[in-house]
């Protein structure tokens, strides 16, 4: 068994889990939900082992670094964070059907990492700039934030779907009937954004400290940095709109989606469309 086989199993588990969550959403059969949860838990456990194994493998070939250093590893880690965050949310708030809107993100990240062209899956040695203990702190804080924002975006979508169905006066028996009440989704979106904002702030700060150690500048308006602060601005305004202007419901749901688009661009778009210090996406 090597780590890439285990990552393959993880991808399959996330695919099946997503399918069962979607089935739960459509058919509203509780058993389907239990299977979906079990698959997600199994997937995340296998993935945890795989991450540890990949870390170990890197030492065996004499490179030795945490598996957080290129696009492949970051996508895998994103899927891990998103699933862990989602499972925590499911456990804490007992809103199982939310998985239909979150687990697909984890599956797509894993599938894209494994099958997309131009994504190098090899364990490669670290260039001097990445040889720092800040690497782990920076990547972990950022990705916990990304995972939370992915969940918030999924919840936002869910809110809008439910709202539309409600507006058309469709009965509870229809498709969106299995979704939690609007009030509950709204509260979850808010809580998720707060959690993600905390970690995004920590991610930006650890990045700044690291940049100052490596380059002597804590902020250089590099595209990745700039997009992270744009994302921060979007969520900061969302929180202010909610706290001081009493925004909720549809408007916050839209902001959760817009915020996730900004996250997606920070994480992905910058690497492929713009140039800068964080060009790990090119490899």
């Amino acid at each position: 068994m090597n780590s890439s086989q285990l990552f393959g199993i993880t991808t399959l588990a996330y695919l099946l889990s997503s399918a069962f969550y979607l089935a739960l959403f459509v058919f509203k059969n509780r058993k389907l939900g239990s299977v979906a949860s079990l698959l997600a838990i199994a997937g995340v456990l296998v993935q945890t082992v795989a991450l540890g194994l990949r870390w170990y493998e890197s030492y065996q070939i004499g490179i030795g670094h945490a598996p957080l250093t290129n696009m492949y590893e970051s996508l895998v880690f994103f899927a891990w964070c998103t699933t862990l965050f989602y499972l925590f949310m499911e456990f804490r708030f007992k809103a199982r059907v939310v998985g239909a809107f979150v687990m697909p993100f984890a599956f797509v990240a894993m599938a894209y990492a494994s099958f997309a062209k131009g994504i190098n899956q090899e364990i490669s040695p670290l260039i001097p700039a990445l040889q720092s203990n800040w690497l782990i702190a920076h990547v972990i804080t950022c990705f916990i934030g990304y995972g939370a924002f992915a969940a918030a975006g999924g919840l936002g979508l869910m809110y809008l779907l439910k709202k539309r169905a409600n507006n058309r006066n469709l009965s509870a028996e229809t498709l969106t009937g299995s979704l939690p009440e609007l009030r509950v989704i709204d509260d979850l979106i808010y809580k998720t954004i707060v959690f993600g904002f905390m970690w995004l702030s920590a991610g930006i700060i650890t990045g700044a400290v690291w940049a100052n150690e490596a380059w002597g500048t804590y902020w250089s308006w590099d595209p990745k940095e700039t997009w992270s602060i744009i994302t921060w601005f979007v969520y900061a305004s969302t929180l202010h709109a909610r706290f001081t202007r009493g925004w909720s419901g549809t408007r916050i749901a839209w902001l959760a989606i817009i915020g996730f688009i900004a996250v997606f661009f920070t994480y992905f778009g910058v690497n492929f469309l713009l140039s800068g210090l964080h060009s790990y996406g090119a490899s």
Partner: protein, 457 residues
Amino acid sequence: MTKKKKNPVWAFFASVKLALFLLFVLAGTSIIGTVVPQNEPAQFYVQQYGASTAAFMQRLGVPDMYNSWWFLGLLALFCLNLIVCSLERIPQAWRLVTRDNLATPVDRLRKMGIRKEVLLKHPLAEAEKEVASHLASHGWKTGRRAVDGGTLLFAQKGAWTRFGVYIVHTSILVILLGAIIGSPTVARKILRSPNFAFKGSVMIPESREADYVWAFQTHEKINLGFTIRCDYFTIEYYANGMPKTYLSKVTILEDGKPVILKDGKTTHYLKVNKPLTYKGVTFYQASYQPYPDFIVTLKNETTGATRTSIIPAGKQINWPDIGASFGIINRETLGEVVRRVKIWFTDNKDKPSRFWIETGREAIIERPSGNFSLMTKQLYATGLQVTKDPGVWFVYVGCGMMLLGLLVAFFMSHRKVWAFLHEEKEGETVVLLAGSANKNKLGFEKRFASLVGSLQR
């Protein structure tokens, strides 16, 4: 609320609408600089966007937009908004924190969402003691006041958390203050002291020293006030040819004498991610420059005579004191980096030898007159980025404050508990408990229920 009319300018800057507007505008305009490459020469923009668009961009400062007047203006406006907004709201928070909660009318307690009535079979005085000590055992230190018809007890936790959001606001100002203190532009134009804060670079060939750096952008020469010497520079590679380490061995000199640094040594190994700070000036391994010259060390193993010198390639070198002549007659390079050199060598006895050796490794040459040990190393200059940023600690303190403030603002709440006791019959006291929390109401409700539950038992 104050009754006097607010100054409209003040009201404008105190509005959250302005804050939301500024956050959106800052987010939106920041995108420009990620799409249009920054700080390129003027010609670049003409080629890329055409003459008229380029001229328009230059006028708006787009090529350096994060330092343009309008972007800095937006940031300044944002700060002003932040300050006025906070000043406007801190007194309200202060009033909430210092409010006399024992003055709360009992009727209001009866209408609170979280409340519960408990009957204690004790006279008032005894019941009061029991409730107060029960609350105290759960960390609620009560105050008391005799009110109409009974006694009111009150306790609160986390009142100060109402200031969490202002810790966050202040942290942003502290960070920006740090950025201003550490700004080379401010040091140059306002303080008229470029030495106060600067960013620059310097190339130092091995065995040479420098007591100055060249500032970025202005290309001014800035004197350090001390000297740094590059003892050597080397690159280590992974097996696959990727660079593993860029390493400079440096020494700090004051009045020509090596300075003992904090770690008790006079030399320091500079690597990427391992900078060196001396007198507030930090040196970072940033780049390197290979030269066509070589540092050669030759030792006559028989006589023990040794000599080290920098020599060019393709030239015959005669060192009679070592008893040998040699030259570098060919090179094998990877980019500008020389991996192997071909040596021509003679001790003036028998035919000269010709052979390849790896750079940076010692080679033993067997000759009729005895053995020689030869080491060649390509000459490099190390490229150091040099920064003096007296504001960086403000930035770090600000960052710490921000995380702390966010934690307080989002995850800690101001919780209050009241207990109104009155004796209904002789020896029986009715306790009305009520509570409120400004955040996480659900969590508080559970805590409140268990607090009341354990009192009943």
